[in-house]
């Protein structure tokens, strides 16, 4: 508009896809440093369907009073192309209204994996038909989520709840102090363990390199968070001290080829512990963001 060469072209809406909404959350400094994201919950306020509209719907589609609500994380790549990742989906009833909770932990986990400076967290909310194809039900057209509270009160606005644990208290402590003996009170740490391959009978004449290696192990206990947790997760056990990062170990072995031994390199994955962490037993392993 500031160029003489440029002429504005007016457009008009021919169609509107009213059932897709984009929520934008500014996330910088929302997650405390040295903290672990435990759960992120998106709360949307489902507005009640007007009675007249509900009666009309029941007359036209007596068997379907539900719509599918899908939450996707939207990532705008550097080349401006979009990519969506499904994070939660559930059916909602036309007869219900009030706050609906969606698990968007995965979306925030993906967002955390972006390189800085990070874009805001973009969540795409889509309201679709429960079933595709005839007989078509218009239930999805009646589901409305509040976007702003009445008269700017903030009531009913979409909310993002972030539940975090302070790793200073609930995390591991890095490498163990070799001067301090291990007790039941030792906080989760990585301890040196040397594996001597030369001392193993089966490795004789077979394993040529290395003669041994530092494998490390995770020892100690993890502080448990206060009960009850602000959410319920099925099969969630206590926090345990486990290897969260590992490295492979290359080995040279002698293999017989044509009756003669020949050295060969083989890489064994997950042989050396790089990092120990406190993790929930039974918690889902976060997906890695793929390029």
């Amino acid at each position: 508009r500031f160029s003489q060469e440029f002429r504005e072209v007016a457009g008009r809406w021919l169609a509107s896809e009213a059932s897709t909404h984009l929520l934008v959350f500014s996330m910088e400094r929302r997650l405390p440093p040295n903290s672990e994201l435990v759960r992120a919950v998106l709360r949307l306020f489902q507005e009640p369907v007007p009675r007249a509209a509900l009666r009309r719907h029941e007359r036209l589609s007596p068997h379907s009073a539900r719509a599918r609500v899908t939450i996707e994380w939207l990532h705008v790549r550097d080349d401006s192309s979009n990519r969506t990742s499904l994070v939660d989906s559930r059916l909602v009833s036309l007869h219900e209204s009030g706050w609906k909770a969606f698990d968007v932990t995965e979306a925030v986990t993906f967002w955390q994996q972006l390189s800085r400076p990070r874009e805001p967290l973009l969540l795409q909310v889509t309201v679709q038909r429960e079933h595709l194809g005839p007989p078509a039900s218009g239930a999805h057209k009646l589901v409305r989520f509040a976007s702003q509270g009445p008269a700017g009160t903030g009531q009913g606005e979409p909310q993002l709840e972030l539940h975090t644990l302070d790793l200073g208290a609930y995390g591991a402590q890095g490498d163990c102090d070799p001067e301090v003996p291990l007790t039941e009170a030792t906080r989760c740490c990585r301890q040196e363990v040397y594996i001597d391959l030369r001392g193993m009978k089966w490795a004789e004449n077979w394993v040529l390199e290395p003669p041994g290696f530092l494998a490390y192990e995770c020892v100690g206990t993890c502080q448990q968070p206060p009960q009850p947790l602000p959410f319920k997760w099925p099969f969630l056990g206590p926090r345990q001290c486990v290897a969260s990062e590992t490295a492979s170990l290359p080995v040279i072995v002698s293999m017989k080829e044509g009756g003669r031994p020949r050295p060969q390199v083989v890489s064994l994955p997950n042989m050396r512990v790089q990092k120990c962490s406190c993790s929930w037993d039974g918690a889902p392993v976060p997906r890695k963001l793929e390029p």
Binding site: I195, M200, S248, P250, V265
Partner: protein
């Protein structure tokens, strides 16, 4: 990580059912070729780089 576990992982990676029987005499004179040693060192270095890079 026990010796048995390491043995099991080696066999699995090499698609073997048991540890090959090798005579000490054959292996004693065995010299690791330079290209095999270079491959081994490269894998070692890659493994250590991954370590310094962190998560």
């Amino acid at each position: 990580l026990s010796g048995e576990q390491i043995r099991g992982r080696l066999l699995q990676q090499l698609h073997l059912s048991e540890v090959p029987v090798l005579d000490e005499g054959d292996v004693g004179e065995l010299v690791t070729p330079a290209h095999v040693m270079a491959q081994y060192v490269a894998l070692l270095q890659r493994s250590h780089r991954a370590r310094s890079r962190g998560k």
